[in-house]
């Protein structure tokens, strides 16, 4: 990331991500909040691209900016009357103070740490390596995820079915 163009792009994408994230929590209209959330997801995908994590960026776009955003918007449409706007949050000031404290702690901790940095060059393509890792070293959690999905699916059916 020594290329000055990349540095500028990084700050630009980061700014978009942060502004969109602020939009999510500050807007009163829940549909706007959902659209801002898509902006945040897309910004994170951009950061993944800059970090040479091509597969992760694609997944971030497809799953988060695509599927999850649509899911959220559907959920909003089906559960409440959006013209009324959303309820004001009585706990916004306590939440604000907690968030600022959290930010301070995280910034302090992260900036004080000397992070170990790999000396290897970044991979050109990551998909193949990720696939091999998932089906070798991480095969057990990978398979447990499928059991987790079954449990979630059974739960969704039981909870949402009218009887």
């Amino acid at each position: 990331m020594s290329d000055p163009v990349l540095v500028v792009v990084f700050y630009l994408i980061s700014a978009i991500t942060v502004v969109a994230a602020l939009g999510v929590v500050l807007t009163r209209n829940i549909v706007y909040a959902a659209v801002f959330l898509v902006g945040t997801f897309a910004g994170v995908a951009g950061i993944f691209v800059l970090l040479n994590a091509d597969f992760l960026a694609a997944v971030q776009l497809l799953v988060y900016a695509g599927a999850i955003a649509i899911l959220i918007i559907f959920a909003i449409m089906m559960t409440r009357d959006t013209r009324k706007g959303s309820r004001s949050n009585e706990q916004r000031w306590p939440a604000f103070i907690m968030a600022v404290l959290m930010l301070a702690v995280l910034l302090g901790g992260i900036s004080q740490t000397i992070w170990p940095v790999s000396v290897l060059a970044p991979l050109e393509t990551t998909t193949e390596k990720l696939g091999k890792l998932l089906l070798n070293e991480y095969i057990l959690p990978f398979e447990v995820v499928s059991v987790l999905l079954v449990a979630a699916m059974i739960g969704a059916i039981v909870i949402s079915r009218e009887d």
């Binding site: 004080q112 740490t113 992070w115 095969i139 057990l140 959690p141 059991v147 449990a151 059974i154």
Partner: protein, 480 residues
């Protein structure tokens, strides 16, 4: 890769799917319950056959040692008791009984994975498997309270998962590994390089992870969800949450803090002090909030928060006696709380109420049931001859050996306070006037659950030695 080592979990997941299939084929749901309950023999026997081995498989993601087997057997026993308690109770969610038993088994499988992995991603995934199954189980009644329990548990659980993941990410970033033993080594090396200084990211990561796990065990200040969820969830599931889910949380905390973060000399951070403060806070807040409760499920919810505090005394001791005491305490607490909740299921089935005021004169209407509930409550106070007494003595003794006198005094004081609200129930049952003289019959499966639980509470309390050996045998894996 050795599939044999994965046998208990694999057979349990297979059993869950078999339960779903059989549920499709039969209208007699007692068959499904019997299959789920009796089928547990297979994973239990498999786990016993692995006892004494120390092996790892799946590139270190799965570890089989006496510690993990101890917890696996504890979870299987808890699942069996929950299924016994549910045979009658589950008629309330009639069309979904098969799914109910299947999700209980899947949650148990998740807890078993939690206890037998040494790798952060597997810890997270298995914790989610257990949690998501429990979110579903909490909302199974589908009435207002149960739905509230489910949604609260889900939302706060999601936040705690995010905090946990953040901690894991920081720890991984600072050490470059997701395996607990490699993390321990990386921390040791970085401390040697920096003359004993610890990277702040490691401290932050550890504290975040403690927060995420603290949610699972309902330790203060991560306990807000517990009373509402415990009150709203189906009563057998409340028992499962206090007995098994809490034990799973402790199993992971002990493994992470002893293998990865507390394996160095000197310790990177004064973990014993951190856990001692958490412990004192948790038992005091839990006990004081339990006093004014009128609903027995809610009272036991606060009592289970307080017990998380007592168990944390053993963690704060940060010694092999401490870990052994924690294991023994968790075993005893599982049987005690299961017994208490089984009694509550039996009573509420006839009375239709969970209010302590309605327990008045119960000893005359159902003498045996009242006696069993009283024994369980006495064990919760920590009086002889029950398991609660030995468990408390053991963790307090372990803390005393590490010089934590103030914490032990705190614990004793809290036990005295707790006697007040437990004995209030006993007093209502034995001295109160009954609303009617009509006896309360108890269904046969519940009798089995009650008998197993109360015999365990007494037997483990009166003959503690083999069980303490069982617990210390598990602890020795973490602290040789």
């Amino acid at each position: 890769m050795n599939l044999y080592l994965l046998g208990p979990e694999l057979s349990l997941i297979g059993l869950a799917f078999l339960v779903i299939l059989v549920d499709l084929a039969t209208h007699n749901k007692n068959v499904v319950a019997a299959l789920a309950g009796i089928g547990l023999v297979v994973p239990a026997a498999w786990a016993v056959s692995l006892w004494g081995q120390t092996a790892s498989s799946f590139y270190g993601a799965l570890v089989v040692d006496s510690y993990s087997i101890f917890f696996k057997l504890l979870f299987i026993a808890a699942a069996a008791l929950v299924i016994l308690m549910s045979v009658q109770y589950s008629k309330r969610f009639a069309p979904y009984q098969g799914e109910y038993y299947a999700v209980i088994l899947l949650a148990t499988a998740g807890m078993m994975f939690m206890a037998s992995t040494q790798e952060l991603i597997s810890i997270y995934i298995s914790l989610e498997l257990a949690s998501i199954s429990l979110y579903v189980l909490a909302s199974f009644l589908k009435d207002a309270k149960s739905s509230e329990a489910g949604i609260k548990y889900l939302l706060l659980g999601a936040v705690s998962s995010a905090v946990l993941l953040y901690g894991m990410a920081l720890l991984y970033g600072a050490t470059g590994s997701t395996k607990l033993n490699e993390i321990a080594q990386a921390i040791q090396e970085s401390m040697q390089r920096d003359q004993g200084a610890v990277l702040p990211a490691i401290v932050l990561g550890a504290i975040f992870m403690a927060g995420g796990f603290g949610f699972k065990i309902a330790a203060v200040p991560f306990q807000m969800w517990a009373p509402d969820v415990y009150e709203g969830a189906p009563t057998p599931i409340t028992g499962f949450l206090t007995g098994a889910s809490k034990a799973a949380g402790f199993a992971v905390i002990l493994r992470v803090f002893f293998v990865a973060l507390g394996n160095q000399a000197p310790l990177p951070v004064d973990w014993p002090a951190l856990f001692a403060v958490l412990s004192a806070l948790t038992m005091t807040v839990g006990n004081l909030s339990a006093i004014p409760q009128a609903n027995i499920k809610r009272m036991l919810a606060y009592s289970s928060i307080a017990h998380a505090g007592f168990i944390l005394v053993g963690v704060a001791a940060f010694s092999s006696q401490g870990v052994g005491g924690v294991a023994y305490y968790l075993l005893g607490y599982m049987f005690t709380s299961m017994g208490a909740f089984a009694a509550i299921v039996a009573i509420s089935e006839r009375l239709g109420s969970d209010q302590i005021a309605d327990y008045s004169g119960l000893a005359r209407r159902a003498p045996l049931l009242a006696l069993i509930l009283a024994i369980c409550l006495i064990s919760l106070i920590g009086l002889p001859p029950t398991v609660g007494f030995v468990a408390k003595i053991y963790v307090f003794w372990a803390a005393l050996q590490q010089g934590l006198l103030w914490l032990v005094l705190f614990g004793v004081l809290n036990s005295v306070i707790s006697a007040y609200y437990y004995l209030r129930v006993v007093k209502a049952m034995y001295l109160g006037a009954p609303a009617s003289e009509e006896p309360l019959p108890v269904s046969r499966t519940l009798v089995v659950a009650l008998a197993v639980a109360v015999i365990a509470v007494l037997a483990i309390g009166i003959f503690p030695q083999p069980w303490l050996d069982f617990g210390t045998g598990a602890a020795i894996v973490l602290i040789p």
